[in-house]
Symmetry: D2
Subunit: 403 residues, 4 copies
């Protein structure tokens, strides 16, 4: 019942085996689709040719970096988007875009089915299947890894049998990698042993802090309405800006994350992330946002941001609650304009300067010397009296004899 | 109307001037009270003698380190207590204890008044006045800095006139410092200029990362029911443990915080914090807590923790909501038992290993190879279908023609 | 230092005494300002004449009903705004508008001071003083009740002495009343005794349920984008609509509230409210909003709404967090279009019908008979397996022997 | 692969057909299990005999009313447990207990499988399957309705063929009913039409308000530590108390709910509920809880309660987050002691009196006359100044020219 299949094709072993297997198993034509979200070092011509060589009737490469940065990463920056303790959601942000483009290409190329390489234990199937079912319920979805019984050894055997090139040695399984403009993840091997400290070979993006320059470097990020627009005073389009900041972070060993995560399908996993751009831009944005926000805004927004990150992580990009949250987040960010200086040094990124025309900060108020204007020290006793009134009354009721 | 005054006495310029001034202004006897919460490097004998020399009728030094660690810092660890982006609340945690002890000593020494050196623009007056008014509403409170018109120059003139020793040169005002076992804050001078990156001379506790050892060090922290109980496998009482961890952090440049903060009295200020113990123990605890918690627990606790930190910051230590939150937090922490390895290197502290008998982690589930038991990959399509159902339905209603 | 005073004048005893007293005490001219927010049964000509007779140099009456309904009540409806268990915030919504108009009139009439009749124990001083200090920090504020020592008896004596008419008998103090288009509150007398069930004479707006019609009546409210726009199919401007719905509620005994409330200044009070329009429009709106919202939206909005109500109650109408919340709330309400039927009967208002083009409801899905399309029953076991996975794993870890 | 089956047996058509069908389909012995959670008017002897007549090898009836009330309803009262706008969760509370007892009886009677009558579209399968999989992962679960293709007509045909008695006429499908001590739900027929106001015949428990007594009645509920312990001053065990209060509510038409609900499996449904006891006990508890709580407690608890209700609704009774929430809730309820008077009249239940030794209410503070002690009106201006400080500063930054 499968006609023509649009396969999300990365060029790696899994999806190469799949490309062949779908043709055999379903007797279906395959359109290979590769999407450029800024994976560092990828050669898309090679990927495209490999797809055609493996029998794809068509092989498309779509450069979606700008859309990814503008419509997915920027909202994440405005939302200070972190899932769990430290995951900046790069894969989670990429999946709904990948699936949306797959729907577009499938329709354009007359496919009735979308195929992807997600396993049945991860979040990505939720994000991709959910997007396809939302945007194009008429399309079928096949996810061979979820169904077939091949482990890595069977995959390699199948690859050899069908003349599919297998990169590198085959003795040890490689890490399982996913990456784009906003970060890179590694899973598998010793990463699954929680008490195994990271081996150095996992870090392919970020310099090990021990090997980073001995000189610290301060980089300033300019924001307008919550969007990063300049680096060290130089205006840049958003893709270039993220790439430039990532370069700086990589150089200084910034953005290494060793993370335990609660997957939406109910299990915990460990991931090693390298997020050199996010580790600089997210704290810079958060600092500026707090500077222009009142105490009430600053206490309330973390709950909004946490929910935004959860929805995106959970594959609910198209859920209307996200639009509601975005409306709130955009309103806050209207005033998030200014410049933040970040000091980078051997794995560390720390805010050291900040400046904004909207800062709710009055140096005269904040100073130790007597101030006039908006604040009088004489107001404090009255404030304290009413501020603590009910707590005091309750404490006495609960702690003193009433005899 | 002031009889005898219990003065919270640090030995510094402000409270020394105060000690004298209260005797003159109110014709009142003064009992000087100095509380040891683990201020690094303080010589309490010197402080005590200075108080007596300035006319105190009695001068008490109370070692409250153990009570502070056990009843204030440990609950803060269990609550992952951070206010704003990065403040581990050390001063905020100390104030209610200081004020509680002041009440005890005031009653013991027949004082009818408690005096403190807080200004009218800070949080500490809220915490101290609030505590005294809660525990001993019959006591009066005087806060000379709130009332008098002395700036630093007048203080120094007053000190000279009354033979009060003034430490160091007098040309430039020093930073305004507060410290205890859990951290150290600096305010004043260039810190009030938000775009001024930290000058090196402000760091008196933590080694500058650039001067920290070139070799990284991994320290393991053992927890039982949320309480840190061992360092590198060696059991320690809580005060020693915090001191030991602080030493390690100081050595490796860990725990520097440059922070903009929303004070409870309505203004924003910048503080430089040095929190070498907190910067290691808090992330270690948070990591372990997430490891033993379910996704539901892990999503919900941050809101609890944020509220706990806010109450403590806001001087509402005695508010019954804190007890309610503590009940929740203690229940979570019953299972927070295990060991976390932290890598320390030139200003950075990062989790690298974790181990717990209660980890909601099943390596077999998490692995890439096919797993049995609690998880079947075949369950995923059904999950995804129902998980995304309403969002899909809503999206279609909102985005498609209904013609 | 007071030049010319703009007095918020209601025509009642307190502000009449004040009108005279300000002239005497400050030797200042008084401009009386009376604002029509839809107080039922008020004769503004009488109020105006009384002000002039008592010496006001000018007496203005401003009809602000439309602005009140459009800019204050409608946002409250969209926010399902309830403070505590049951207070629909009518007074809290009116105060910032009253103070804003006072600022405008003060500027227009050359006043340098605004005077109001709020006590020092209530919320209204926070709302009015806060608004004036925000919009016009150059204006002074006087609140005679906060300062003077007059009780009711002294007020009456003062009134007699100065020929100020005193309504009704003077033996028993009347209830303290505040009202506008959105409701009416009573305080004082037996209301302060929490175990005293309401005496009938307090209800001057809503028919006692026992005396309401024996026949129930169903009223349908039409909403567009969250705004009520029609009653029983008849389009109405918002002021007329609220008045019409209030009439129906009053007739059927709907909207009686007996409420204990946590004032922002730290004390608890009891109020008797009569809110016939709110008791119909708020549940109608809430029902429709839930019908067009997904489970995610419906779980999240109550926290948004609670915060909105708190800010408004707490006198923080001008706080930017309110704008952030409004952006969220408006986004949700874009789709809140449809019709709700409410059954009114002897004190009760209950939703009985609902209809919306945006309902996330599919009768075919919801029915017991087998359904196709978006839902397959076969999906459930997979959903349940993953949905409960972590909870099960955690439960076993915590409850079973690990021997 | 099914050996012996423990069937949750209600005596109705569905589970009677199932009892027979399981014997035929699986060639398995069936143990029928019927659990008394206080379903009004049920004759358990008749149910038991019917089961045996239909071939059950054993038929057990377990009276679990006390456990249900004590361990499920009482925590729900303490949590003010409402899901959505108005559902007091009676079915959701009963399911985990039913499944827990099923596990016990299955083990006791040597069954390897539990069977239940839940459909694949409802919440109950999540609650029951989730409980069984948590407590007894070794047990299999069969849910024939999820699998078979029988509609109501096929069921009746099957019943006739196998001599299973069919209650009442068979032309029109009856409402689908579930009930226990805490309430009764109806689904099906016109209820699925959202714009169809309730037909009278659906109400089998609560008197129609129009037919309720013309005289109002005040009932007082006494609470100790959050638990209702007396009615009108008379102490009662919890089961009797709930039954007594339910009687009063039924008599006065109290507790009719017409509800749209977001099921956990992703669809919306309408239910008609009759909850006479909950409609009195829940608001009484909420009122008392607010009376003894501070403003901080009262603002925070609704978020806790909402989460508790969600977990229970979502079939996550055994999730450790519920224990965490319970610890919080129990701490709050330690002080929820006192008496609440509720007025019942023609469908309405309204708080009219309250009394508690722990009330954070001081009549002297709350009164209009000048008060001493904990409150001075002079404190207010200072409070207002600091309370509004940041909002004012932000407003000016955002709304005024900076020229």
């Amino acid at each position: 019942q499968v006609g023509r299949v649009c396969l999300l094709y990365s060029g790696g072993l899994d999806t190469s085996v799949m490309l062949k297997w779908i043709q055999d198993e379903y007797e279906a034509e395959v359109v290979a689709l590769t999407i450029n979200l800024g994976q560092p070092g990828e050669d898309y011509d090679v990927v495209r040719e490999k797809a055609l060589r493996l029998g794809a009737v068509d092989a498309r490469v779509i450069d979606a970096r700008e859309e990814f940065a503008r419509d997915f990463i920027v909202p994440a920056i405005k939302a200070n988007a972190i899932y769990g303790l430290n995951y900046p959601l790069f894969t989670a942000l990429g999946r709904p875009l990948i699936a949306k483009i797959a729907v577009e290409i499938a329709r354009e190329t007359g496919c009735d089915t979308i195929a992807h390489g997600c396993t049945g234990k991860g979040n990505d199937q939720v994000r991709i299947d959910g997007t396809v079912a939302t945007l194009a319920p008429e399309l079928k979805i096949i996810a061979p890894v979820r169904d077939w019984k091949m482990g890595r050894d069977e995959e390699i055997a199948y690859a050899r049998e069908h003349n599919i090139p297998v990169k590198g040695g085959t003795e040890t399984a490689p890490y399982s990698i996913d990456d784009n403009l906003w970060g890179r993840s590694s899973e598998g091997r010793w990463i699954e042993e929680l008490d195994h400290a990271p081996d150095d070979d996992v870090f392919q993006l970020v310099t090990r802090p021990e090997e980073a320059p001995d000189e610290a470097e301060v980089v300033t990020i300019g924001f307008e309405a919550g969007v990063p627009v300049s680096v060290n005073g130089q205006a840049m389009d958003i893709v270039s800006l993220i790439e430039t900041v990532a370069e700086l972070g990589m150089k200084h060993g910034v953005g290494i994350v060793d993370h335990i995560e609660d997957r939406i399908v109910g299990l915990k996993v460990r991931d090693i992330y390298e997020v050199p751009a996010a580790a600089i831009l997210l704290p810079a944005h958060a600092e500026l946002e707090r500077l222009v926000g009142t105490i009430h805004q600053n206490r309330f927004k973390p709950g909004i941001d946490q929910q935004w990150a959860y929805l995106v992580y959970a594959g609910l990009w198209w859920e209307p609650l996200r639009s509601d949250l975005d409306a709130y987040i955009d309103e806050v960010n209207r005033f998030v304009t200014g410049t933040i200086g970040m000091k980078l040094y051997k794995g560390m990124a720390r805010v050291v300067t900040r400046e904004s025309p909207n800062a709710v900060y009055d140096a005269q108020l904040a100073t130790f010397s007597e101030s006039g204007g908006l604040f009088s020290q004489q107001a404090s006793p009255g404030f304290i009296e009413l501020w603590s009134l009910q707590s005091r009354l309750a404490w006495r009721l609960r702690n003193e004899d009433r005899g």
